[in-house]
Symmetry: C2
Subunit: 381 residues, 2 copies
């Protein structure tokens, strides 16, 4: 059902090739041409021609090991598998305090990770260099040639334009206005997908984390400058100008203190983005320090406020809390209580499962989506 | 392009009939069979058969007045038009203080309106009676038979389930749990679409108001219990449980006063839902009363807070302010200032164009959508 009418034989060939390739990729074990003809409804000669083409393109290979009953006839039928190793993808997080990267094959299997520390003062060029070093090291260590990269996904703070340039970013010096996608495309010589970090994180939690199976999800990356990413009907909600979920200013609306003040135990505000100081406050609080405990309470209260505002606006099925807060004991209790109090229909609330890896993992998923769209997309299906 | 392959001739007939009907409805003047054959690409005999069927069904009629050159041949070609009068639709607002209704034909042309006052204490049965009285009067006055109703749209405060029952409504006594859609379906004997009032209002502003041409819109119905409706990519965003935009509790998050308190000039809170008292405060403020002016300032500040939270979460292209605030002089100025201050990408802000009529008009549009879906929908187009 739903195939296109039309007289374009090359389109039809492409569609059929995508169908066969998808079958090969989805199969648990290598398939014979007969298997493929049966499951796709295509004729055996058509399947044979397509598989030859896929083998030539390096996307399919004859399986080395024979599977199943090989003795039924003199010679076993040839079996084919998807060559996930035919291409590779990178997911990269560019954050205020580190650059991290994850490498996978075309099946999304993770081949390795790497990261480098940065500081909130690291300039744009230096930060781009760190991206090059981190990914270069990862490729070398994994013995993967840069030329096999099919796509790179990048998660970054700030508002990102469709072309991958940074519209506005207050967290990274020199980042606003940077043609990030273009710069990295030149480096990697393949498609580069740039996405807001919280948006990447919510994609990751749905792929491999706590939001699996959920289509309506809000994820909050808690920090001194918190951000949120939302899935609506299973799709990223970026907003009209890519600024959806940029909730850093919610704190200010109530005319109350900034998080730097809320978390301070000295009366002096913490330095913005000084996560080490924050970690210290959290550690002190856990150790029973009274002032630090009170500071943490104020911070959690603020987080609850942010999350509640998002929930009232969007009514998601699930709220995922990540960023610093993923490491906070006892953030879920107050959050659930307050949401039950203020929301007419309170959502489920869960901590991030992927933690530190969420942004890079989501960026990898976006790169994979892009490649799968090219390889497997069949119009009308 | 995009027609379905398939062996179902009745489906094909239905598709072709929808195509012809849509052409007739969209035409500025009556069309000949040749006109229709040309614009639809169908054969003339096919068009003729379809038009006969549409005439039998009452959806098309031969046009009385001859149009264009009638002397070219002995007899002018017959011309046909869409019979918008073949069916009627109602849009109904059920609010705390009134029930209002608007009547249209199948082309969405407004034939009349009616309303009845209610109070916030009016019980559910009595309020349903008011719906019957208001719409009965409107139909009688417009000389439209109830049997010609094709669909009724209803906008109501609260969270509405897909089946048209009220999941939760704090504004109308006895409304929570009411099978509103079913009760009205029995009364009107046609499909009844029930929708949250703010959701209806944003649909209306896009149809005939200030949001025409905008796909990403947040509309705030300001009141003692404010609500919001959002369009994302041109579609209503209802949320996972239908509670998106139920921002009544945003006020509470900052631990600040309720609107009843914010608007009070006596130190005693206003009665919840007492809009007369609110109108008086607004009038006093406009007359230069100092206390009332301060009360209004507090109220506007709160409204700005609510809107900013929605904007940060959703990043719409346009914010429409309706409800009471649509009558507030000077609400737009502070709103724009604050949004520019807090939002990384501030949206456009406008007052509702439809004012009091927004909810009923949006409900009418939803009813019209339903009927058009049935009459004109062609799969794959």
């Amino acid at each position: 059902m739903g195939r296109l009418i039309g007289g374009d034989p090359s389109l039809l060939r492409r569609i059929n090739a995508a169908v066969v390739l998808r079958e090969l990729r989805g199969a648990r074990e290598p398939l014979t041409l007969s298997d493929l003809a049966r499951s796709t409804g295509l004729s055996r000669p058509t399947v044979e021609g397509i598989v030859e083409g896929l083998v030539d393109a390096g996307l399919a290979a004859e399986s080395a090991g024979a599977v199943g009953d090989t003795r039924r006839q003199g010679r076993p039928a040839r079996r084919y598998r998807f060559r996930a190793e035919a291409g590779h993808l990178l997911g990269v997080e560019v954050g205020p305090h580190r650059v991290s990267a994850v490498l996978s094959d075309l099946a999304g299997r993770r081949l390795g990770t790497a990261d480098r520390a940065a500081s909130e003062h690291t300039g744009a060029e230096e930060r781009l260099e760190l991206v090059g070093e981190t990914t270069g090291e990862l490729l070398d260590r994994s013995e993967v040639a840069r030329s096999t990269l099919r796509a790179v996904g990048v998660g970054t703070p700030g508002i990102v334009r469709d072309d991958g340039s940074v519209r506005l970013c207050t967290a990274l010096p020199g980042w606003t206005g940077l043609p990030l996608g273009e710069r990295l495309r030149r480096r990697f010589r393949c498609p580069v997908l740039v996405e807001n970090d919280a948006n990447s994180a919510v994609v990751a939690e749905r792929w491999q984390g706590v939001a699996a199976g959920c289509d309506d999800v809000v994820m909050v990356l808690a920090g001194l400058s918190p951000g949120a990413g939302s899935l609506i009907g299973g799709r990223l909600h970026r907003g009209f100008g890519g600024a959806a979920g940029e909730i850093g200013a919610l704190h200010l609306l109530g005319r109350e203190a900034f998080p730097e003040r809320l978390l301070s135990t000295t009366g002096e505000p913490l330095h913005p983005l000084d996560e080490a100081a924050v970690a210290e406050v959290f550690a002190l609080a856990r150790a029973g320090d009274d002032l630090a405990g009170k500071a943490m309470e104020r911070f959690i209260q603020r987080l609850v406020h942010d999350v509640a505002a998002l929930v009232l606006a969007l009514d998601p099925e699930l709220v995922v809390v990540g960023g610093w807060a993923a490491g906070l004991d006892g953030v879920l209790g107050p959050l659930r209580e307050e949401l039950a109090r203020y929301c007419l229909r309170p959502p489920r609330v869960a901590l991030s499962m992927l933690g530190d890896a969420a942004v890079a993992t989501g960026a990898l998923r976006l790169a994979l989506d892009h490649v799968e769209e090219q390889l497997f997309r069949v119009e009308g299906r």
